[in-house]
Symmetry: C2
């Protein structure tokens, strides 16, 4: 990417909303989150069984959702229990709701 300008500064809300949207911008990640909404929580392995994707790929999607703050992982050795991050979920919900008027 050629950038003549180091970085465009947007309003904080704009950046935050875009980051959430980007994390939601893949059907697998939407499906993962829908799954988490139903089950409330689940393990990586459960998701690997649900989707016809390699374990590493599922793990990567989970990482992105975690980085975006939409989910969080809790150690339940030897597994990891993933749940929706309620605080950021509410934030995302309100940002989208405000955005759409």
């Amino acid at each position: 990417m050629k950038r003549s300008l180091e970085h465009i500064e947007y309003q904080e809300d704009t950046e935050t909303l875009a980051r959430f949207a980007k994390a939601l911008g893949h059907p697998t990640r939407i499906a993962i989150l829908k799954h988490l909404e139903n089950q409330s929580c689940c393990f990586t392995g459960d998701l690997v069984d649900v989707f016809p994707l390699a374990q590493s790929t599922v793990s990567q999607h989970l990482k992105e959702l975690k980085t975006a703050g939409l989910i969080q992982g809790e150690l339940k050795p030897p597994k990891i229990k993933y749940c929706i991050n309620q605080e950021n979920w509410r934030l995302a919900k309100s940002l989208f709701a405000n955005f759409f008027d």
Copy 2:
């Protein structure tokens, strides 16, 4: 991208939501849409003046928003007036609202 499986089939809502989210997944596009919400409509040139981006770059972002169905262009020669596509806007609004519960 290596795909062992041609294509994963998700629920239609999931695909649609992901497509909207992907279109919203860039701060410039969020900012463009916010601008359109305020102004109700505007021309490409107006946006080029607002953002420190090349005309071709702005045009490309507009194209993506148009492809996603979030905006529509109306010919007002020699300009093009872009407005929010109200029908899809409502659809996106409700998909996001339902998704976030």
